[in-house]
Symmetry: C2
């Protein structure tokens, strides 16, 4: 059975192509002065809800924002995000379980990056595959919701290792699901020591101010926590 070996080889080629493209995207973002933030998480961790609030609030503070949002099917998320009044584009991936740099590049064809301060990229809900694909972003945020359990970082270490910041979401449900917050922090730190961890509830708004301050500082200084 030679197929699995060939699969790995070819996959590495694709990844290499992706890295080259991501690098050119990153240079293009830098030249246009736009800071790019991507969001990864499992399905249902609250990426879209958080992003909708983020876009709305950043716009109120006169930050020029836009968003790309990846999904296998449906334009539901783009419709939700469009309520923020920010420019939003959906990337339908079909059966592909992650975004790649080529999809991002093609989505930007008719947008002028020079009119933006910050571009958000919401990846497909998946804790595995998106970790391998550099999208040219400056900051990668991994979300985990309290309903997923404290040991997710231990079980999906690569996605935490390739992210710059972790955000624990749905804190309003922490009590109902008996979430072990110290345990979660311990899991994250054991996988990626020193990682910044924020916690919030997009529903109640708790922690949202701190999260937005964190983003605004990064956007203003155009300096990523873990610049690639």
């Amino acid at each position: 059975m030679s197929s699995p070996t060939r699969l790995v080889e070819v996959r590495q080629n694709v990844l290499k192509q992706n890295d080259l493209l991501a690098r050119s995207l990153r240079l293009r973002f830098e030249a246009a002065g736009v800071f790019v933030i991507s969001l990864v998480s499992s399905p249902g961790a609250g990426k879209t809800t958080l992003l909708e609030k983020t876009l709305t609030r950043l716009r109120e503070n006169r930050c020029r924002v836009a968003a790309l949002v990846g999904d296998l099917a449906t334009e539901n998320d783009a419709a939700r995000l469009a309520r923020s009044q920010a420019p939003v584009k959906q990337i339908i991936t079909g059966t592909v379980c992650h975004l790649d740099a080529d999809m991002v590049q093609r989505s930007l064809d008719d947008w002028s990056l020079y009119d933006l301060d910050c571009l958000f990229i919401e990846n497909v809900g998946n804790l595995v595959c998106p970790s391998s694909y550099d999208l040219g972003e400056n900051l990668r945020i991994v979300l985990m919701s309290v309903t997923e359990g404290e040991d997710k970082p231990l079980k999906y270490p690569t996605i935490f290792n390739t992210a710059d910041v972790a955000v624990i979401t749905k804190m309003d449900l922490a009590k109902a699901v008996e979430f072990d917050l110290p345990g979660a922090h311990q899991s994250i730190q054991s996988v990626r020591p020193g990682m910044d961890v924020l916690q919030l509830s997009a529903k109640t708004g708790a922690g949202l101010d701190g999260y937005l301050r964190f983003l605004e500082e990064r956007i203003e200084s155009r300096v990523a926590v873990g610049i690639k």
Copy 2:
């Protein structure tokens, strides 16, 4: 850029190999009289919690059960499932985001299938990739928790289309997250009309009796809802 095309070609070869192996596994399961049930869901939907209760309760009813559980890293889930006293084996997939038939086959090397009535296979938490890999199971159950949102079936249609039964989990949290139950049923039916849908809370036990009755009937009759 010829790589993406080659990737698809090679991937189809791997999938074909997997289908052949899955078919031989299915014949082996049938010959041994063991009914095989797989569980798929996003990370944190409650597969392990539900499976622990399932193994415990089925054992009490003198059903001879065992479980294989897939994860990228850690043996946490196997440790949790072992509390049921049923034989449990962890399959560590490394960076592979799904189980395949070969991993299942190799895990069964030192188990006598003739001593089992039912084998559970808990897949890696992922709503995309596991849908493409037949594991030789008789029944595939897709779990979605109320915290993930009603539109998951629309956004991840393939995993619902390749499953035989949908189980809505964490019903105890439905009110707290304002879960739209009719909306969820509508999403499921629009993706897979006529699909059996069960709802339960492994935490409070609500709906668990119905779920177990459903499984026991299938195990006893050795007839899958959507036999492949």
